[in-house]
């Protein structure tokens, strides 16, 4: 799946940003922004993972490259005359962190980042990783070898990012973890919707990271996001493997404890002057999770949170997701106007949610012929079988109404 997605991504001609975040946003948008009328509602419930596509498209825009720092400082720093802490517990912590930052270095391809992290940080066998990413063991072995060769030949250093580099590098790590999580939740190609082992590894990694970096709000933000997303795990897919829309999910099945825990983490995170991306995405997800029924969802609050998110993350995908929320507050016409402005952005060229959202908005405006055209476009661009079947079923249903 990942290999297929990666080769697909290479075809995308788009400016690139932090794919992981975009991935996260897309995921969140579609799991929480329920669109009430028929066609659109599915959008909100499906954890879409065009991660690798988005990563490819997003990666170069994002890079804020690290400043020069000392390379592999060992025991003493002669200039400062200090003894670097050699307490074994801290050293081990530092080593683990350095390894995580190495595996998630932006110079490595996203699929390599994920594979390396699972292999070196989680200690998963090459065979198991291959299985989780639906490739042969040979392919995964080659992928790992190439990544290690790049690290060695290009001299990707094993070091803690400096204070200046930290925000971007940490975001890269969080992105990899989130990518693992969402890969586990949906496959962009392939037939099944969830792989729980990936989800579990991602959760485990986040806890490890939280332990190693207890002061980082964004780590807690990611944890909150994973908790609230996973809280709905049992209700996203039906008995026959079909997608269930957000407005139809049985909220009593949602893990209230996980949601409450996420809420505490987010509350603290929102106290920052400019809350981080993961904190805000988690906050948005919580607005959904805490609504007793779909109709009680506080869409105004969601729009407000998106406004804040766009300040530090002016991504067209975030703006697109905001437009969906706007449709719930100001109506479909206002939202359609926003989407039409956004779709000019080359970064959204092959993003199948654009026509899918347009289809829903047009349908709500009773412009059915145009809606159908957009649905077809979305279908063409969708790669996940379960999603495709959902979309196709929706279209059949609509066709029979006409």
């Amino acid at each position: 799946m990942l290999a297929a997605a990666a080769s697909t991504a290479r075809d995308l001609d788009v400016a690139e940003e932090c794919a992981q975040e975009a991935f996260a946003t897309a995921f969140e948008a579609w799991s929480r922004d329920g669109i009430p009328d028929n066609p659109g509602a599915w959008l909100s419930t499906v954890a879409k993972r065009r991660a690798v596509d988005v990563i490819r498209r997003e990666v170069t825009l994002r890079t804020k490259l690290p400043l020069l720092v000392e390379h592999n400082v060992t025991v003493t720093d002669d200039d400062r005359g200090e003894l670097i802490d050699t307490d074994s517990k801290d050293t081990m912590k530092d080593e683990r962190l350095r390894l995580i930052f190495l595996c998630c270095h932006p110079a490595l391809a996203p699929e390599a980042q994920m594979a390396l992290t699972l292999r070196l940080v989680c200690g998963m066998s090459t065979e198991d990783i291959a299985r989780l990413f639906l490739v042969s063991e040979t392919t995964m072995g080659a992928r790992l070898t190439r990544a290690k060769q790049k690290i060695s030949t290009a001299r990707i250093p094993l070091r803690m990012p400096s204070e200046a580099e930290m925000p971007d590098r940490l975001r890269a790590v969080l992105g990899v973890i989130y990518l693992l999580f969402t890969t586990g939740h949906t496959a962009t190609t392939g037939t099944s919707l969830m792989r729980p082992e990936l989800v579990d590894e991602a959760m485990h990694l986040t806890h490890v990271l939280q332990e190693l970096m207890p002061d980082e709000r964004e780590v807690r933000g990611l944890l909150a996001l994973l908790l609230v997303t996973d809280a709905r795990r049992s209700t996203r897919v039906g008995v026959d493997g079909e997608l269930i829309r957000l407005d139809e999910q049985d909220r009593s099945q949602w893990d209230a404890l996980a949601i409450a825990r996420a809420s505490d983490l987010v509350e603290e995170g929102l106290r920052a002057t400019q809350p981080g991306r993961y904190v805000l995405q988690a906050a948005i997800a919580l607005v959904h999770a805490q609504a007793t029924t779909y109709d009680d969802t506080n869409w105004r609050e969601i729009v407000r949170l998106y406004d804040v998110l766009l300040v530090s993350w002016p991504s067209p995908i975030v703006a697109l997701n905001r437009a969906v929320a706007v449709s719930m507050v100001d109506g479909p016409a206002a939202a359609l106007a926003l989407v039409e402005e956004l779709e000019i952005d080359v970064r959204l060229k092959d993003y199948h949610y654009v026509p899918a959202i347009k289809a829903d908005l047009l349908r709500r405006l009773s412009r059915d012929d145009e809606a159908l055209k957009e649905s077809n476009r979305a279908l063409e661009l969708t790669r996940n079988d379960t999603e495709r079947e959902f979309l196709a079923a929706q279209m059949r249903e609509r066709a029979s109404d006409v």
């Binding site: 170069t60 890079t63 804020k64 490259l65 690290p66 400043l67 020069l68 720092v69 390379h71 110079a107 030949t153 290009a154 001299r155 990707i156 250093p157 070091r159 580099e165």
Partner: protein
């Protein structure tokens, strides 16, 4: 210490930008900065891609080797301890905010022979 090549890419434009030499001045300043810092090994600015001639097998054609939207505008070789250091330097190249970008590739082997001035 390792050497890295920084390949500068600029978009192919239909029109010629006349900025009064501002872009060029930035590159000259950047080159001076790198020389000052001791990180520069060599740097080359190439004439526009329209001046290129390519050879494939026996065939000679006008223009760059690859038909792409962005073409190589120049390249330099720098010295850096590791990739992070090299990326930090590459990122400051003016081409990055002039609509182009850079590729950073480790140098496997290099030679700059000493050249003597020709005497006529």
């Amino acid at each position: 210490m390792a050497e890295y090549a920084i390949l500068l890419y600029a978009p192919v434009l239909d029109h010629h930008e006349d900025d009064g030499g501002a872009a060029r001045a930035e590159h000259e300043q950047h080159s001076e900065d790198l020389q000052h810092a001791g990180t520069m090994v060599a740097a080359f600015a190439l004439e526009p891609h329209t001046m290129s001639t390519s050879i494939r097998g026996d065939v000679i054609t006008d223009g760059p080797f690859l038909e792409t939207k962005e073409v190589i505008a120049g390249f330099c070789i720098i010295e850096a301890t590791d990739l992070d250091a090299a990326l930090a330097i590459a990122k400051t190249n003016p081409i990055c905010h002039q609509g182009g970008g850079v590729e950073v590739r480790p140098v496997e082997d290099w030679v700059i022979p000493t050249r003597h001035a020709h005497q006529h």
